[in-house]
């Protein structure tokens, strides 16, 4: 990110000059308009949202390529086969229609494949988040999808193919936001 969005520190004496009209309507609060213009380019390191609307980065990967990364960086917590491992965080298996309480995993529960890219890139591995390159993220999530039987090991996962991949539980959610 470029540093030019930070302007020099302003004097503290100015800080609360505009804080008087507390209880008035928001449109009369009197915004000092201090936001600095930025471009999407400025934010390329910081904006990690990967969704249907937000463009996923360039790069691609297959499960075949992701197997090694998974073994080195994921298996210690999630298990060699994604079945839970030491952290008891299974990525694979489960069935939402099972008689018993269903094990909810990427394969059985997650409604959108884009979430897998978004989450792994921003938060995984837990002890070194953001240490994977975009290519490594594509490779390792391809391996997770492969372990769930959703793709074969040579299927190329990229910005386009990830968004067209339909997850098994995609229709399993009820959006309650409209009732709020």
């Amino acid at each position: 990110m470029s540093n030019n969005i930070f302007k020099p520190a302003l004097a503290w004496t100015l800080s609360f000059a505009l804080s008087a009209p507390l209880a008035v309507a928001q449109d009369t609060l009197g915004s000092p308009q201090l936001g600095k213009p930025v471009t999407q380019m400025d934010l390329s390191d910081l904006d990690l949202i990967a969704s249907k609307e937000s463009v996923l980065p360039a790069g691609s990967g297959t499960a075949f390529q992701g197997r090694e990364i998974y073994a080195a960086k994921c298996a210690s917590c999630h298990g060699a086969e994604g079945s839970g491992g030491a952290a008891n965080q299974p990525l694979v298996g489960g069935n939402m229609r099972s008689q018993d309480a269903p094990t909810r995993t990427v394969g059985s529960y997650w409604p959108h494949a884009s979430t897998l890219f978004d989450y792994v890139r921003r938060a995984m591995p837990a002890n070194a988040p953001k240490s994977l390159s975009n290519t490594e993220v594509y490779q390792v999530i391809a391996y997770v999808l492969y372990m769930n039987g959703l793709i074969d090991q040579y299927k190329v996962i990229n910005a386009e193919t990830l968004l067209t991949l339909k997850m098994p539980n995609a229709g399993g959610f009820i959006d309650m936001s409209a009732s709020d």
């Binding site: 930070f6 609360f16 000092p32 990690l48 969704s51 997650w110 978004d118 837990a126 399993g172 709020d180």
Partner: protein, 437 residues
């Protein structure tokens, strides 16, 4: 966890001289008395008198009255005699670095404001140490002018203050399970706190960026190692959401989002994103992991509820409460907290007989919109077993459900948004324990 002896003393050392006529003030079964007793309308002076035998002093001049103490200090700390009033952070999990939660010791606090150091925590990758001079909040996506705001600039914006609760949607989640957990008000219900939050209405910053007409959602992302994100409908974002910088008058504590967090009144705590660094406008929600894989509830028919934002009307009794021990028979004050994500608390009722009969509790007058309300009711315990339950109603007429009603609605697979009535069982020997009716 264990209860301090002083808690027991506060609970146990009240043996009032009740006139025979006070039986007229019994308003519900098993010793519940009229809230008028608390309002000065009856029993002048006869209420919560501490018997002199309960004093630990021997009436000689104490040592602290005979020598000067230390002088003023830079940042005051609690008395060392209350050093055991703590959150319960649990043990660190090396596989989940910085992750976890700590709960507010509700049973050891009075009033309605949670001290900043005792506000509950929930972190997904630990507490980042953010230098405010190197931090910015940026707004991008469907806006006319993508903007970045540094901390010094944010301090110049007009701010508003609101005293409101924050509750994790996983609070009391253990009460969904079949076996009643043996815990305290803290360990079972301590993922709720209340503070005065001061900040900039998010709508002011969104106006400056110019929201595009097709935008419907706002994604908020934190600067922690998890870069945790949540999507919030735009109509809520421009209604009452704050970009908060101060908590109870001082800059946010690091574990509460220093230097800047979102505060989303009445909604599940997770959407009040801490360490706020990004606001992105979009047509659809971003489908973050913490709004798909987590913070969703699966119903009995295996469909799952997503974006269940508001916290339901709820109350809990904080005293007497789990793992306390009543020492002597006599008058006690039942106390607790009530709140609603929809608005304010209009009524709290208490039962001492497992829900058979109810009496209305007194509520502190200042209870406001989406804030904690403190309720109280006198109760005369004469050594019989009792089942204490509270039931809140908010100003929209929402009534706190029974556990059975909630289970019938949400099923046994649910984990989040437990707001049902909770029952403390008082045994004939004074032991207080969580139970199901």
């Amino acid at each position: 966890m264990s209860i301090r002896e002083t808690d027991v003393a506060e609970l146990g050392a009240v043996e009032p001289n009740l006139e025979p006529s006070t039986t007229d003030l019994m308003v519900a079964g098993n010793g519940l008395m009229s809230r008028r007793l608390l309002l000065g309308l009856g029993l002048g002076g006869a209420g919560l008198t501490v018997a002199s035998g309960a004093l630990g002093a021997d009436f000689s001049m104490p040592v602290w009255s005979k020598q000067p103490g230390p002088g003023p200090s830079g940042y005051g700390q609690p008395s060392r005699f209350v050093a055991d009033i703590q959150r319960d952070p649990g043990r660190a999990n090396p596989l989940y670095p910085g992750g976890g939660a700590s709960r507010t010791p509700l049973h050891q606090l009075r009033g309605t404001i949670t001290p900043n150091g005792l506000h509950f925590e929930r972190h997904h990758a630990g507490v980042p140490e953010i230098d405010p001079a190197a931090h910015a909040v940026f707004i991008n996506g469907l806006v006319e002018r993508p903007l970045a705001f540094d901390y010094e600039s944010l301090l110049r914006y007009p701010m508003v203050s609101r005293t409101q609760f924050l509750e994790c949607s996983g609070n009391s989640g253990a009460l969904f399970r079949d076996a009643a957990v043996d815990g305290t008000a803290q360990s079972i219900n301590g993922l709720v706190s209340c503070a005065e939050w001061t900040g900039i209405p998010l709508s002011v910053l969104l106006d400056e960026a110019g929201v595009s007409p097709e935008a419907r959602w706002v994604s908020a992302v934190g600067a922690d190692a998890a870069s945790m994100g949540r999507s919030i409908p735009l109509n809520k974002a421009v209604d009452d959401v704050l970009v908060a910088l101060f908590q109870n008058g001082e800059p946010l504590r690091p574990e509460q989002g220093y230097p800047v967090r979102l505060f989303v009144p009445g909604w599940e705590g997770n959407v009040s994103v801490k360490w706020l660094t990004q606001i992105k406008l979009s047509k659809e929600p971003s489908q973050f992991r913490d709004e798909t894989s987590k913070y969703t509830d699966t119903l009995a028919d295996r469909s799952s509820l997503q974006f269940t934002f508001p916290m339901g009307v709820k109350s809990i009794i904080t005293s007497p409460s789990g793992k306390m021990q009543l020492q002597t028979h006599g008058l006690y004050q039942i106390e607790g907290l009530a709140w609603s994500g929809a608005g304010s608390i209009s009524k709290v009722e208490i039962s001492a007989d497992g829900g058979a009969t109810w009496a209305e509790a007194a509520i502190d007058a200042q209870a406001g919109d989406k804030s904690l309300a403190r309720f109280r009711l006198p109760w005369r315990w004469q050594g019989n077993s009792a089942q204490l339950i509270s039931r809140a109603t908010d100003n929209y007429g929402n009534i706190q459900p029974t556990r059975n009603q909630l289970l019938a609605e949400k099923g046994a697979l649910a984990f989040y948004h437990f707001n049902a009535q909770q029952c403390w069982d008082v045994s004939s020997n004074g032991e207080v324990k969580n139970t199901y009716v």
